[in-house]
Symmetry: C2
Amino acid sequence: MLNESLLAALGEILPPSALLTAGEDTRPYECDGLTLFRAQPLAVLLPENEAQVVEILKICNAARLPVVARGAGTGLSGGATPNIDGVVLSLAKFKRILAIDPLARTAVLQPGVRNLAISEAAAVHGLYYAPDPSSQIACTIGGNVAENSGGLHCLKYGLTVHNVRRVRGVLVTGEIVEFGSDALDCAGYDLLALINGSEGLLAVITEVTVRLTPKPREAKCILAAFDDLAKAGEAVAAIIAAGIIPAGLEMMDRLTISAVEPFVHAGYPLDAEAILLCESDGTPEEVLAEIDEMRMLLENNGATQVEVSQNEAQRVRLWSGRKAAFPAAGRISPDYYCIDGTIPRRSIAPVLTRIAEFSKEFGLRCMNVFHAGDGNLHPLILFDANCPGDAEKTEAFGARILDLCIEVGGTITGEHGVGVEKLGGMCVQFASAELECFHAIKHAFDEAGLLNPGKAVPTLHRCAEMGRMHVHRGQLAHPELPRF
Amino acid sequence: MLNESLLAALGEILPPSALLTAGEDTRPYECDGLTLFRAQPLAVLLPENEAQVVEILKICNAARLPVVARGAGTGLSGGATPNIDGVVLSLAKFKRILAIDPLARTAVLQPGVRNLAISEAAAVHGLYYAPDPSSQIACTIGGNVAENSGGLHCLKYGLTVHNVRRVRGVLVTGEIVEFGSDALDCAGYDLLALINGSEGLLAVITEVTVRLTPKPREAKCILAAFDDLAKAGEAVAAIIAAGIIPAGLEMMDRLTISAVEPFVHAGYPLDAEAILLCESDGTPEEVLAEIDEMRMLLENNGATQVEVSQNEAQRVRLWSGRKAAFPAAGRISPDYYCIDGTIPRRSIAPVLTRIAEFSKEFGLRCMNVFHAGDGNLHPLILFDANCPGDAEKTEAFGARILDLCIEVGGTITGEHGVGVEKLGGMCVQFASAELECFHAIKHAFDEAGLLNPGKAVPTLHRCAEMGRMHVHRGQLAHPELPRF
């Protein structure tokens, strides 16, 4: 419970309807998309303008009260999990599109604007916002910036960081800062890139200017089937090696196909070991040439079936299965745990083989459905939370996959962030000097550690406690306490 | 002069030929491409491996000795200007290409590898390194990362930061760190982006992994002439608004044409007020379609002459004038000062008009030759250093242009960095809270401020001394001493 004086101070800034303290009111905020972790905050604050955010942060800073910023709560790594000793600062009321400039091809947005709403508003100018996380119907641009979100089209069009021009935010001290500029570059350290993916640890975002992309005149999709997972992996490598950057390049394995096809009837072959979806977009001439070349490469690399979408309805149908893969998992298993790791493309086939071995070892099925073009894996481990021991085995299985990602030169997150979920993986991926750099950055923005505490970057002490230590160039990095 | 014990300590790491202390030996290092600023360092160190860099930094850190890292010394903002109380750490011996992976499309490089040498080595695989600063024959990848260098093709292919996958470096404490990964994303704060453009203030770079790009199968260039500068600016806006991202989109004004054409005979019309060079690259089909569309847009926007290169020789000839613009300035003026600022594209025409007014006011000619597509201006102010008062007027003229860039929502540097040259502009562009963020970042990496001191980020105290203060949202930000 917040003490009286804090409640009074916050009550001077916010009307009662924007200052939730009763248990039944704060319960909807107890977790984000990672429902494994739950905590009820002391209060939920719903400001509606930047001046209120400034005043709230000044009060929290003075009182040393932790603050967890929250967008739509669709995050999958627990980045918005509340702190039981702190408050949740919801940006839900910041949902205005402030400006769209079709010549500069930019949109100025409040942080609570939904990802898809940007493209809907820009459509009249023939433009759209390219990064398209699966949750795009609900997730907000502020959360996208915080997590540096990706999506199906990021192989060609880049992650959030590549599509954001300017971010305005409030430091924990209440100071307003702006990073980036209307120009294509900016002087000084690249704090704009630093804010992208900083998971709410450095500032509370109050305005985002994004780059809009012209809608391609044409798009076609190829469905290619393989009787062997490794061949599909090699076909991905061959397409990339040929210098093609498809608008989307996705892979699904047999188990995924068998879960998805009866659900959405996308037209996937049920006897294939793997399928690839390869999209080309651009001018009609460009698409024609690229589709032809990809078809040839797929055939040369052992595709048993290659089908090109003949019209927009068929293209949408081919993608419908990919987009429904996660809900489809829910049809064949009571629970699933979505892993997010990224590996160099050359390692796709061997990593999938190892995941199959882990699956046998743990006795848990695993669906593989992922962004093959950029090596971003999303293994879905199927389990039953009501079956004793399953949850623990699932967690161990997931950790093994992430360790494997690091082993082959990859990273423990592609687009879902670290949050509370992957603190252990951070200990393995980074050496102590590197983690100390992260802590030093945090300290530089938020000396007392009040913004989203306990997320994204583990202390070296915590790594030691978890018994997870970075192994680098053959030697074990010895644990030290952070300098700050 | 270095004291005896420091000399002895450095002498244990480096052979005499790699430890220069005599005045005649250190003189070649007294400045970089910004020759206006010169200083002789106490010593120049030329290590040849990372272990030596580590030991050197440990010694300098213990002795609180400033260290200025240096690549090829082609920088234009004084980023490698020595500190008279410190040493220059040259990476000139780090010139090995360590690996090229044509499948992953990456190259692993020592920092002293020349920009053009990367493309030469990758050519056998049909690949090249896209960012192409004008100095690419000499400048090195380490310096490119430090300055986040651009070039003619950056509009389509991105700046250095968009083409670097991984950077390995040494902190001032001697600790080795690696940022980025072989995968397309990385967990933790985006320190890779932070290192790009950090101008040698955060770490000494010892290895860089870059992304290679497939060589386009075809490239064509359009030369378009205009009888009015504003019309050329509008044509640029029209091309971008049509959703085209040319491989290059450059503008030159009348004075530039008159300096360049007699020098290289590129075939530019001497009676034009401005010309645009618009390049398209990609598959033959794509290039054909894009060139046709650009030609139409140029004609509709008042081009008096439009010529498309018919073969590679003609394309190279059209670009030769653009590439020779800076040396050509030397033929019509004893001295010139190259300004580097970036503005939103919509402001090109009004900003060029204002620059013409400044030119009259200061009585100095100004050539305008620049990356129009990304709004990156390079006004060349022509002056005579032997003419009393010219240098001061030139500096004042340059400062006015940069202030104008900020006024229209742009930034004081596009690709040359801040260095020692633009500290004043930083005071105008950033509010004190923002400058404090920069200082906090510096402090996080280099508490004692030994790496490239006095560059890139002015202290608030210095801003006050220079009488240059940020004006933001109508109020003057009051000067404060930095927190650290």
